[in-house]
């Protein structure tokens, strides 16, 4: 594959990075964010939460293990673009099917390599996440700058609606195991309705692994639609964009909480639960994107290393009386987890499903299962 096409990245502040194209040709715009995870670029690219975001990976060699058919979090890539220091010309891993550049082209994803990604990261750290434009093939810095500045930004943008599944579907695939791959579910114990605001498959796999029969509903499904399925529990997924404009979801969650059905939210789902409970959300400076974030469980006092990917956060100062904070980030003290005191509902800001990232938080899934077991025992 030839890499002689030029590419540029231009930020709204006028910073220009000149590199080469490693993906599709064309122009893309979005919010430029950096992720410090050392592994898991395929999971990151296919995570729907990265919709409209151009992802910079801080580890310099990206593409070492190629791309395989298993390590995907959605059917297609969702990131708006990819920025890396270097793509090795050869990948090596027993599961690899194709190279990263081949995959990027097939997915029509615009990507740039050979730039000083540390310089870029430092700009984003100092000035905050910025809108930007990657242009690959025929490049024009002035046009790219205009495009970067024309991008409206994620604040106020409802993207859950954009990435959600158009219709309900069932999910039965369980977790990945070395030597066996993904397995199929047998004999589920609970029925869980999962709201898809841009759900990562590994969440569904981990629920299925723990004995949940899953019905996935579109983001806009009402509480009645969910309740009609007689679920043992309701799951609120992760997803892209600003939670505030998702009034349909906030309304549905508000109604579901009152039914006292166990409810578990992750990332955007966490923010929506907070909003539905009366708290507020804010846009962060450059967000949390990585796989090394320490989060303290305020109940046990233990620290978990977590996977994170969010640009909005629940403002801890706005928690109403019926919401207590359960987890806090040790990087910046920001709120990481909440639980309702008046209903079996809790949520987590980071990604307990990992993929990519450490498995330290998987106990939250067990907690949800336990909640459903307790709930069904009572009712």
């Amino acid at each position: 594959m030839s890499f002689d096409q030029p590419a540029i990245l231009v930020l709204a502040d006028g910073s220009v990075f000149r590199g080469r194209s490693i993906g599709a040709e064309g122009t893309t715009t979005g919010e430029v964010v950096f992720n410090t995870a050392l592994t898991g670029y395929q999971e990151i690219l296919t995570d729907p939460s990265y919709s409209r975001q151009i992802v910079t990976l801080t580890y310099p060699h990206i593409g070492n293990v190629g791309v395989n058919t298993e390590d995907v979090e959605a059917a297609a890539t969702h990131a708006a673009g990819l920025v890396v220091r270097d793509v090795p010309r050869l990948h090596s891993n027993f599961r690899a099917g194709q190279s990263l550049p081949e995959y990027l082209k097939n997915q029509n994803l615009i990507a740039i390599a050979d730039i000083d990604t540390r310089r870029l990261t430092r700009i984003l750290r100092e000035k905050g996440a910025q809108n930007g434009c990657v242009m690959a093939g025929a490049v024009d810095e002035a046009k790219a700058l205009d495009a970067a500045r024309a991008f409206p930004g994620l604040a106020g943008m409802d993207l859950a609606k954009v990435v959600t599944a158009p219709a309900p579907y069932e999910w039965t695939e369980t977790e990945w195991k070395l030597g066996r791959g993904y397995c199929a579910q047998a004999a589920p114990r609970f029925h869980v309705v999962a709201y898809d605001y841009g759900v990562k498959r590994n969440i569904l796999r981990m629920l299925a692994e723990r004995g949940c029969r899953l019905t996935v509903l579109p983001a806009t499904a009402s509480a009645d639609e969910a309740l009609a399925l007689k679920p043992d529990g309701v799951f609120l997924s992760n997803g892209p964009g600003d939670p505030e404009p998702c009034d349909y979801a906030i309304r549905a969650i508000g109604e579901l909480v009152t039914t006292k059905i166990p409810l578990f939210g992750i990332c955007l789902g966490h923010q929506l639960l907070a909003l539905a409970s009366g708290a507020r959300t804010v846009k962060m400076k450059f967000g949390h994107h990585g796989a090394n974030h320490p989060v303290k469980d305020l109940d046990s006092g233990r620290v978990a290393i977590t996977s994170q990917n969010h640009g909005f956060a629940v403002d801890a100062a706005t928690l109403p009386a019926n919401l207590r904070s359960t987890h806090v980030s040790l990087f910046d003290g920001s709120l990481q987890g909440i639980a309702r005191t008046d209903a079996p509902a809790f949520s987590f800001q980071g990604h307990p499903e990992a993929s990519p990232g450490p498995h330290d938080m998987s106990y939250l899934f067990d907690r949800f299962i336990q909640m459903m077991a307790d709930h069904t025992a009572v009712h």
């Binding site: 050392l38 730039i115 620290v303």
Partner: protein
Amino acid sequence: MPKRTDLDSILIIGAGPIVIGQACEFDYSGAQACKALREEGYKVILVNSNPATIMTDPDMADVTYIEPITWQVLEKIIAKERPSALLPTMGGQTALNCALDLAKHGVLEKYGVEMIGASKEAIDKAEDREKFKAAMTRLGLGSARSAIAHSMEEALQVQAALGFPTIIRPSFTMGGSGGGIAYNKDEFVAICERGLEASPTHELLIEESLLGWKEYEMEVVRDRKDNCIIICSIENFDPMGVHTGDSITVAPAQTLTDKEYQIMRDASLAVLREIGVDTGGSNVQFATNPADGRMVVIEMNPRVSRSSALASKATGFPIAKIAAKLAVGYTLDELRNDITGGATPASFEPSIDYVVTKVPRFAFEKFPQADDRLTTQMKSVGEVMAMGRTLQESLQKALRGLEVGADGLDPRTTDREEIEAELMSPGPERIWYVGDAFRAGMSIDEVHAVSKIDPWFLDQIQALIEMETALANRTLTDVGADELRRLKRAGFSDRRLAKLLGTDQHAVRARRGELAIHPVYKRVDTCAAEFATQTAYMYSTYEEECEAQPGDRKKIMVLGGGPNRIGQGIEFDYCCVHAALSLRESGFETIMVNCNPETVSTDYDTSDRLYFEPLTLEDVLEIVRIEKPVGVIVQYGGQTPLKLARDLEKNGVPIIGTSPDMIDAAEDRERFQKMLHDLGLKQPPNRTARNPDSAIRMAEEIGYPLVVRPSYVLGGRAMEIVREEADLVRYMAEAVKVSNDSPVLLDRFLNDAIEVDVDALSDGEQVVIGGIMQHIEQAGVHSGDSACSLPPYSLSDELQDELRRQTVAMAKALKVCGLMNVQFAIQGETVYVLEVNPRASRTVPYVSKAIGAPLAKIAARAMAGLSLKSQGFEKEIIPPYYCVKEAVFPFRKFPGVDTILGPEMKSTGEVMGVGDNFGEAFVKSQLASSDGLPKAGGRAFISVRSSDRDAIVEVAQGLRDLGFSLVATRGTAQTIESAGIPVAVVNKVKEGRPHIVDMIKNGDIDFIVNVVEDKKAVKDSYAIRAEALARRVVYFTTLAGAHAACLGMRHGSELEVYSLQSLHQRLH
């Protein structure tokens, strides 16, 4: 949980002398632990026999014992100091084994000492092969099929079930010592014999071969609340079959997907929990099958290790320091991450945005008879680490930092057969043969098929070779700015480019200057730039943004010593650290440049600014360009920076201390000779030969025996004593290879002379003697290999005064500013000057500990302009006690190597013994460096050359008085008998059986004096020394050594322990 308040004093055990498998990384971890615990207000009691360490500096611990690390000695220290706890995880295998011994013998219980950091049970479970395997099985983690054997019979049974090749690992040995890979029964039996011998529990793990599997290592830290973090993952470039210490390794892991990485992470944490490492750092090693990802656990170390030092340097996360704090009760979230200025807690996993490559350094040139194929037993003596934004950049930086004459992937051969052989059966230079393979047109698949190196790494190297090939038949001016920039980005050194383009490095540098192609400096910040850092820990790369942000304070730059090697090791790092510390105290901003990850100098805490860079002219000049220091110190890092001095000076770099011109005057034969002549000092008759013919002619002029060596070498490299013309002819043919264009020096060898080292320091005006060290072995044994005593134990005051006078005269003549070392030989009453080195010497830390004055610090300040007078150091300190330094050798690692001492240095480390008299100090030095002297009353074997026959009588009488019965070879026995001392005759090996080797094998000999000289006698007696080594029988190959041993044994084995602080009080 805050720190524990029920503990008040903590005992830390160091790792002892530098040996293969245990180097200065344990000084780094131990020093960090001392600092961390004292910071918390604990009283720290430290024991380490190695005086060359920073940790044994008297101000590092509250109480410091430079004493042998045996449980008996430790018991005495515990009885005296009554520590509340023992931290055994900072001093490598040595400390761990000693702690286990203390527990086993009930010492800890008797004195109520709590073991912190790792329990006896955890250590046992991790180190005992059988228990470890059972633990892994309980966790459901795969491990290689294997079984334990305690005898050869069991071993053969186990092997039959596993097939060949088979891996043999002895239990409880360091650096895999005594292990190996067997491809057939003969090899299997040989390795098992060695392994059973090496294992203190006579236990072997015999294992299915995982040769060719990929190898990984995870560095894990855990606290008492069960918070676990991975500091760093490491992937080995060399697949399974080569000891990790001998492998090129890369951080982070390169060829794992997130799914596989997380499985390994989960397994690492599970291993720590199962083994029961409650707090602290550990590493877990894995192998994975490249075909299907099957993962097995290889081993774990429940302590900080060589790789935790590497991981600390690679990420900026100080594992040992954190581990020490966890051991006293803190949890990770209570500790801050220093490098972000405390903005983030220590409970996170470092993310790095660069690639780290470690390359081992070997010393096979010192041991020509040793097998240089790499196996599961570690053989390397040092390592270099480099950082770059890509693997190519970091690899090429590491290769040039090694100082083995390579500027990058320099070609070795074009012979395809040789290439394939080297790829298949790796030796110390495999990485260069990989380059050659691609030059010879081999494909990645072909290279992978024979070497099993992962194709990802191979492609990176192939791409470098393609870039090199594209330069063929071109000149520097043909290479445009873009291409030159691309080449520099891939890590090519100026020197390598110069070679490829037929020019020199100065031209390449000039061209880069014209095109404004310079490196930038990025910071190591543990977080891939997510948080701001004020810590100036940097590496160079060719990118856009420079983060160096040099300040405008007065700066002094210290050039370090690069990778450890025989002849240049921790002693020089000690000096560099002292320079940085003292100049920092004196108000300078200090800048350290070094590339050795094991050292204290490359701790970002040691200096204000740390550049982790190779010590080549190119790399140093670029740093100088950015930093503009007012002074650069080149005389502390050994030969590495010294050989850059002239070129640095030529490029306008302000060298402080003794001028490069005067350094040259001391190194250059003719100039030096003239100086001595002017001063009226004597030198052994000598000549300088530039070709074999003139060498032979000159040899006749000065007479045999001769000491011959190439000029400009350290550690006696290629130095030999030749006794006849035939030897000289052979030497000249070989030496040319070693020394390239530098001439060969011939000195008349002084028979039976006493050798003396003198360390001195000067501010350019005043000269003060640091210490006079009398060697125990006679002249002819390399000073680094010789034991020595401070103060001298048998030199008259008049002679000592004469040495002082001569030293001062030479220091003044050379206008020394800083440190100086002189080697004298005294034959009868005549003093000869052997050599003068106007730089830090190997003995500086030893002398400093002995006399209670930090010579390197004082001298560094002198270089920066502070007079000795202003520092209050104007008078030599002569201690009222004895300090004996003894060398430690790696012979056990190299079966087949003769243990006889000569002018070429072979020791890897040193110990110090202290005592009220010479005998006591000597006994301790032997106990610390080997198994100690035997108890009086055994059987001694004596065999000496005819010229020593008269002198042997005194030794024989001494041994007799100690109750030894004597056996001797015929000639020696006659002399002894005629002096009226009873002695039995034993056959030499060639005289028929039973002979002396049979007696040693049967355990009938407890002490050996074997002095030989000419080549034939050396060869004939080799079997004696080999057997003595194998059976751990104490042996001396010099008469002077045997004599000292008698003095020692006369003192007996009842030893007092003395803290350094109490000794130093006696000086006032």
